[in-house]
């Protein structure tokens, strides 16, 4: 069973290494990448199936028993996140086969993508907070490589800003971990959670807040989100979908793991503050989106805004709130990545990401308009799509706790999200193209692009029409969360 637990880390890692050996043969490299991602997906699916039926899997590295060794833990939450990671990797690499803003091929592209997938699933499977820091660093290293590999000035500019703010975040995490280790003598989640019970919660609180702050930087929460809209739009579409789907959500996951599970006894003032950080994140994200006309920048600001809802679920500090966050994270990863991929198809047809320079697509590509409507309306939270259930779970718990102000902000932000999606709809689909002689691109190779986006739209529809399965999984995940994995 250890092999099954390790496979979602090992398979992409081996793929990254073997594709880097094939650097001189781009075609073979790309094929091997597809084989690797298929194997990764199969392993992740097998792991989730096993965890959902047989319960949490755990293994100590090097045979050192807890609390001495580094533990890997696949509980329902971690396994579900790994499966969604594999789904994102697969859709990005399939989309990469089309010619809609695909990432220019380079010897380092495939290895970096797979290394990032390995780092993300490592972060989801680790049961040790220092090990989590290492996976965060690996994520940072591979994402810096992917940002900078095209080496145009705008990418280097984006890389630098992404680097500085993210590095400050990781350093904060490292220092917080050092203090926690000095105070408790432990690093494993289970041991930390037990040690926290014997400590004065107030004494550990500053260190827990430090770690939480680091995760908030990584998640792109207010007011530390400036790195995200400064860098994401310089990425080619498949990589942008990967970044947008996965990276900030690892921060949310880590925050949920730490504040919702390991240090659940943190003073309530911290959760109160987190609630207002969540509200500000929602509001400022959506207001930033309202200003822009570039689809990628609109969507990048919406990542921030949606992160607010996930943080709100954590700030509610209850089982129901956690269920809402888990559901929201999984729904959001699928929807957000899909929107960025569909934006690339729009770009391929109209020749611009800027809504002032595009339009007229509804008349010639009504199917694409329908495809866009599914994730866009799901992001807004229109029933019966998945975003409706996600928002329902979070807002219902907010109301149940009598936090009227937070609930009102959450609903108001939904309205502004509708405004942004309507802006894209009118700009790209409904109004006439500003260029009279414009025709949709002839001979565009979009088969793989439609395959990837269509599959993700089907996942969104399925989660919307039959949410019970995911709700049950989220309940299972949050039930195992409290007290840390053991």
């Amino acid at each position: 069973m250890i092999a099954l637990l390790l496979s979602p880390i090992l398979v992409p890692l081996v793929t990254a290494l073997s594709t880097s050996l094939l650097a001189a043969r781009p075609v073979a490299q790309r094929r091997l990448g597809l084989v690797g991602i298929t194997a990764f997906f199969a392993c992740a699916a097998a792991l989730l199936a096993h965890v959902a039926t047989e319960g949490t899997l755990r293994a100590s590295m090097g045979g050192w028993p807890a609390p001495f060794g580094i533990e890997l833990v696949a509980d329902p939450l971690g396994a579900a996140m790994v499966l969604i990671t594999a789904l994102m990797g697969a859709s990005a690499l399939v989309f990469q086969l089309s010619d809609a803003d695909a990432a220019p091929s380079a010897p380092s592209l495939e290895p970096l993508v797979h290394a990032m997938l390995a780092a993300v699933s490592g972060a989801f499977l680790t049961g040790d907070i220092f090990n989590l820091y290492v996976w965060f660093e690996l994520m940072l290293v591979s994402s810096l490589g992917l940002l900078a590999y095209r080496t145009a000035t705008r990418q280097l500019d984006a890389t630098l800003k992404y680097f500085v703010l993210n590095t400050v975040g990781t350093l904060l995490l490292l220092v917080g971990i050092a203090y926690l280790h000095a105070a408790t003598g432990h690093l494993g989640f289970g041991a930390l959670s037990e040690a926290a019970r014997d400590h004065d919660a107030l004494r550990l609180a500053p260190f827990v807040v430090m770690v939480a702050l680091a995760f908030l930087v990584k998640a792109g929460a207010f007011p530390l989100y400036a790195w995200l809209p400064a860098s994401y739009h310089t990425l080619p579409a498949p990589l942008l979908a990967l970044f947008a789907g996965l990276l900030t959500k690892v921060g949310v996951y880590a925050l949920l793991r730490v504040l919702g599970g390991v240090f659940v006894l943190t003073p309530s003032l911290v959760f109160e503050a987190l609630g207002w950080v969540a509200a500000a994140t929602m509001l400022f994200g959506v207001l930033g989106a309202a200003y822009h006309w570039d689809v990628r920048r609109i969507l990048a600001f919406h990542i921030i805004s949606q992160i607010g809802y996930m943080l709100l679920g954590i700030a509610l500090a209850s089982r129901e709130g956690h269920v809402g966050t888990v559901f929201y994270v999984i729904h959001h990863i699928v929807v957000k990545a899909n929107l960025f991929l569909i934006a690339a198809i729009i770009f391929r047809h109209t020749g611009s990401y800027d809504l002032r320079r595009s339009g007229g697509l509804y008349a010639v590509r009504p199917g694409l308009a329908a495809l866009f409507a599914i994730p866009a309306l799901s992001l807004v939270g229109i029933p019966p799509l998945s975003g409706f259930w996600a928002k329902l779970l979070v807002v219902r718990e907010t109301l149940a706790q009598g936090r009227w102000g937070l609930a009102a902000i959450a609903l108001f932000v939904g309205l502004l999200t509708l405004y942004s999606m309507a802006k894209i709809w009118f700009g790209a689909f409904w109004k006439k193209h500003p260029d009279e002689g414009w025709r949709p691109a002839e001979g565009a190779h979009l088969g793989p692009a439609y395959l990837a986006t269509g599959a993700l739209a089907l996942v969104t529809l399925y989660l919307g029409l039959a949410p019970e399965g995911l709700v049950r999984l989220a309940e299972l995940a949050s039930a195992e969360l409290v007290g840390g994995p053991r």
Partner: protein, 130 residues
């Protein structure tokens, strides 16, 4: 020993933050790597350095009661290696930007986020120059 480390960390963090807040790109990156060095010292200090007793956990226990803990020393090695590689990478990025554009001021560096148009409307998207 801990007090000495604490004072050192305070000095290095202040220098690092001062440099990192600078508009000069090179100073900014060097400042970040100074903060990284201070963070490494904090990790090192979390292992009670300076205690000469042997680092042995008593039978039945699971926390080291006396002696410098070896674990943070292993952890800090990991952090040093990662921090060093990131410093090198960021220096290369800054040098490339400087060579390409001649710009060394973070306020003037607007390649990824161009200024708004003259009427306050958001900028049009920029195309890659490479």
């Amino acid at each position: 020993m801990t007090w000495m480390l604490a004072l050192g960390v305070a000095a290095i963090v202040s220098a690092g933050v001062y440099l990192a807040l600078s508009r000069d790109l090179l100073r900014c990156v060097v400042g970040v790597s100074l903060i990284a060095a201070a963070a490494n010292l904090v990790v090192f200090a979390s292992g009670r350095p300076g205690d000469p007793s042997p680092p042995v956990i008593p039978p039945g226990g699971d926390v080291l009661a006396a002696g410098a803990a070896p674990l943070p020393q292993a952890l800090v090695l990991t952090a040093i290696v990662i921090g060093f590689s990131l410093t090198c990478f960021s220096l290369v990025v800054v040098l490339a930007i400087k060579q390409r554009t001649g710009v060394n001021d973070s306020h003037a560096l607007r390649a990824a986020e161009p200024h708004a148009l003259s009427d306050g409307a958001p900028p049009l998207e920029e195309e890659d120059d490479a």
